[in-house]
Symmetry: C2
Subunit: 297 residues, 2 copies
Amino acid sequence: MTLAIAHLGPPGTYAEQAAVFYLNWLAQTTGVAATLRPYPSIAQSLQAVAKGETQLAVVPVENSIEGSVTMTMDTLWLLDSLQIQLALVLPIAHTLISCATSLEQIKTVYSHPQALAQCQSWLGQFLPTVQIIPSNSTTEALQLLTQDLTAAAIASMRAAELYNLPILATGINDYPENCTRFWVTSQAQTEISPQKYSTTNTHTSLAFSLPANLPGALVKPLQIFAQREINLSRIESRPTKRSLGEYLFFMDLEADRNSPKMQSALAELSTYTEILKIFGSYSILPITTLKSVESID
Amino acid sequence: MTLAIAHLGPPGTYAEQAAVFYLNWLAQTTGVAATLRPYPSIAQSLQAVAKGETQLAVVPVENSIEGSVTMTMDTLWLLDSLQIQLALVLPIAHTLISCATSLEQIKTVYSHPQALAQCQSWLGQFLPTVQIIPSNSTTEALQLLTQDLTAAAIASMRAAELYNLPILATGINDYPENCTRFWVTSQAQTEISPQKYSTTNTHTSLAFSLPANLPGALVKPLQIFAQREINLSRIESRPTKRSLGEYLFFMDLEADRNSPKMQSALAELSTYTEILKIFGSYSILPITTLKSVESID
């Protein structure tokens, strides 16, 4: 069996880098072969799994500097049928890629809005007068660079290598401790991770809406987990899209959904929520060494 | 005295529309005259106030569909010295602006990422094959349209009128109940709102970090407000930018900071937080009728 893995393209994005790591890890731990398939947006990557075009998607969830990737959360809530298999944490090091020979020549800088935000102090210091132009991914603007010597793009070192483009500056992110967490998602009935992994799930992610916006409505859900000493590692609110001031709450909890304390917590939680969706239990794999940086697809 | 109000430009953005409303409201209720000053980003609008270039800034905080404007929250936390004077709620109705004579001619659609996200279903249905290009504001791409008949931009009806450009489709946002909340901010020592307003503040906004990520660490801050029957109308987490999994919490609470119950809540809260910043108390003004749609500056 060969699996297809959807990710934000074109090739060379951080999402592809995480997907390459996962593909190698999958081959090593299970012997399962996989191919990568780039999509033009995060939403389309997730929809590809829901429609059965691919078996898996690797999507960014959260960056340590810029926070949640809201597109991922909103799409997961809407699609309803996807489960998280694994989380991956990728260290992020941005480089400035350009065919210019010095910073003085650069007039425009392209990148994904999250990458631009992660380098805003550096840009303000070294390129204070350039025009900043957002793009759909870090790699989308790379093909412009050979035609326009006054243009630069912010992407990974791996992207510069893949597209054979010169790097003008490295480590330009404002905070050195920059990393992004990705989720590997599949359809609910697909069991991809090796059996030994599914017994060591350390995290459970879920989301819910509350029936009414009353004082203290959120206290009870938090107490349910606190009383059982289940740590809440992330809480995020998203609009219900019905009216301003109505929210969904997304939580990451440090326990397996099949553990007795989590089972009892989830049973109690469901009595307070309007809609409760559990996106699955999984473990977290740090991406420390990338053995292969070649393009796979 | 003439006040200067910073907002995201170029003229015709929703932020300018909110600023025009505020300018008129200020003239009517206090007799104070003001002028508008556009800035290329939300962060620069807020920095203009911190540096004293303008006395006020009108910045978006939250959209009912796309959620928080993280740039506003992160900049307010960093600048430290700004206070919220008033909140404004603006109904959002997006239009498709283009010199094309039919939808079939359009090949590219430009807009701010929030506006693009708010129209994604409409775009998928009526313009499924076009290239979507993010821009720094809804109005930034408008000057391109007269040169390129295959280009369109998503912006307000007011923007089409200001730039004298044709509207190809109206009400294209996926959810009709679309509105954006703005904050009017000033330096802490500036008292701009009329006295009668400052006695009817209904909301207080604050943010804090917690000393340790322990199970239940967030329960206590929520309980402090729940016990006093102070409704929490919004909670949002943002990364501390130190490491993945460390957060700041932003809260909007339905009480004046000078009320006895809020004073006692804030005193107790400060014993649990690491850093606590109070962004001020204010009331909410819905923008229902816009008497003047002319450009002011």
